[in-house]
Subunit: 266 residues, 2 copies
């Protein structure tokens, strides 16, 4: 098990700026090829695909994309429809909207569309996602859990898309007070690195497993791999957690992190 | 500058249980001498001294204290009144209620009452405080600052009572999402240890500078003393923070920490 990165990911903590500088979305268009980009917006996560799809469609065109298509799949049959590969194959950037992360994996996992996405990713096409679309990037994802104190077994997890391995992502991180639930997640397997991404903030992950931070707030990395003291195997569910020591890194725009060496970069 | 502890402190993150097991308040009565205890409740922090004072008065008697007095000071003249030392000198435990931490230091700092408290503390009398009464324990205290993302210079600090040196306390910690502001505080001087105490949770600090956790939630210690990467001296106020690496320890009931060696204890 190692931090496995094939291609390029832009993982956004939700509520990215869509009105002013649009720094994150602009970066996505650039990384997709700028004036040559052909972007596919996947609205699987949201219950309002038309509204959300239209918004990103206009935005990406305004930000200089050459072509934008919105692809909505309502069920697995649609995600398996003949020819869907051809609808995607020319994409130079794929964008997952927010909504419910289980809708993404439930609709796409194991389908033709799902496999096509993996292929694009392996070819170096940038895959971006915001909010729920951020959570799905990892092999195991957080799907629910309360804010507040770190407690044992009070969060729910599920298999994600697996584009980023040995990492758990949480979004709307500082805004919703989610450090406790991210710590609960990594306490279950301290090998896994926790990455909490604030609103209007993103990590741009490169194929060398290094990421840089883009946006106005912070990214918090928690690494419990060398922790010696924990009560995870002893306590009953719902009990307050013990985990010590944990290495934490708080990073903001322009700073970076090496997911393999687990150190921050200037 | 070293973690300086003279006597015994019970520092409570606010909202301690007053209806059921009353684990923390019971522990305070025990540490004050149990059936032989003479407890003084200081209501300086609150704007409702009668109500709050009466509540703790009844509670400590119910929990087995021998004697409980409530001491309210409305202004510095009262905190300097002749004979106030005698009202306090037989106390075996002192308890600061919640409210506004600046009321405590503003009313008591440099007065006869303030000096008497220090004396009691040096004699080994336990000094307890909840919420605002917890924040005042350290030499520099947090008096304000928003929840959410760790940002530079967006919190306000003031000199505390100085019973615990080189530490900054924050209370209602996980419940109010305060990790960001605690990190902002320690980024200003990474030598200072940050201790975030959740509601219905306390640390019992002994004169050897070790503490143990009492209560239902967690205590989070953040130690940035070995951080190598930060933007504190570069960024403009309000900008998102960079601080890496930080050592973090999440502890719950029965676990402990050595403030001098900065390691958790089983």
């Amino acid at each position: 098990m190692t931090e496995h990165v094939e291609g390029k990911l832009l993982i956004i903590g939700g509520a990215e700026d869509k009105k002013n500088e649009c720094k994150i979305l602009k970066r996505f268009v650039q990384e997709s090829g700028g004036r040559e980009s052909r972007i596919t917006v996947l609205t699987a996560a949201t219950e309002y695909p038309l509204q959300v799809g239209t918004e990103y469609h206009s935005l990406f065109l305004e930000l200089g994309a050459q072509e934008v298509q919105v692809l909505d799949v309502l069920d697995r049959t649609q995600a398996n429809r003949q020819g869907i590969e051809r609808e995607l194959e020319k994409s130079t950037g794929v964008f997952f909207t927010g909504g419910d992360q289980l809708r993404i994996t439930g609709l796409l996992g194991g389908t033709l569309l799902g496999r096509m996405l993996e292929q694009l990713y392996e070819q170096g096409v940038i895959i971006a996602g915001t909010s729920a679309g951020a959570s799905v990037m990892s092999d195991t994802m957080i799907v629910g859990g309360e804010a507040g104190t770190a407690k044992k077994d009070t969060l729910t997890m599920a298999p994600g898309l697996g584009l980023l391995r040995s990492v758990v992502i949480d979004q709307h991180f500082a805004q919703r007070g989610r450090i406790g639930r991210l710590l609960s997640a990594i306490s279950q397997n301290p090998y896994v690195l926790g990455v909490g991404i604030d609103e209007d903030t993103a990590i741009l992950v490169q194929s060398d497993a290094r990421f840089s931070v883009v946006g106005t707030n912070t990214v918090t990395v928690v690494d419990a791999s060398s922790s010696t003291t924990t009560n995870v195997s002893e306590t009953t569910p719902g009990q307050a957690l013990v985990l010590s020591p944990i290495l934490m890194h708080v990073l903001s725009d322009g700073y970076g992190f090496d997911l393999k060496r687990r150190v921050s970069l200037l």
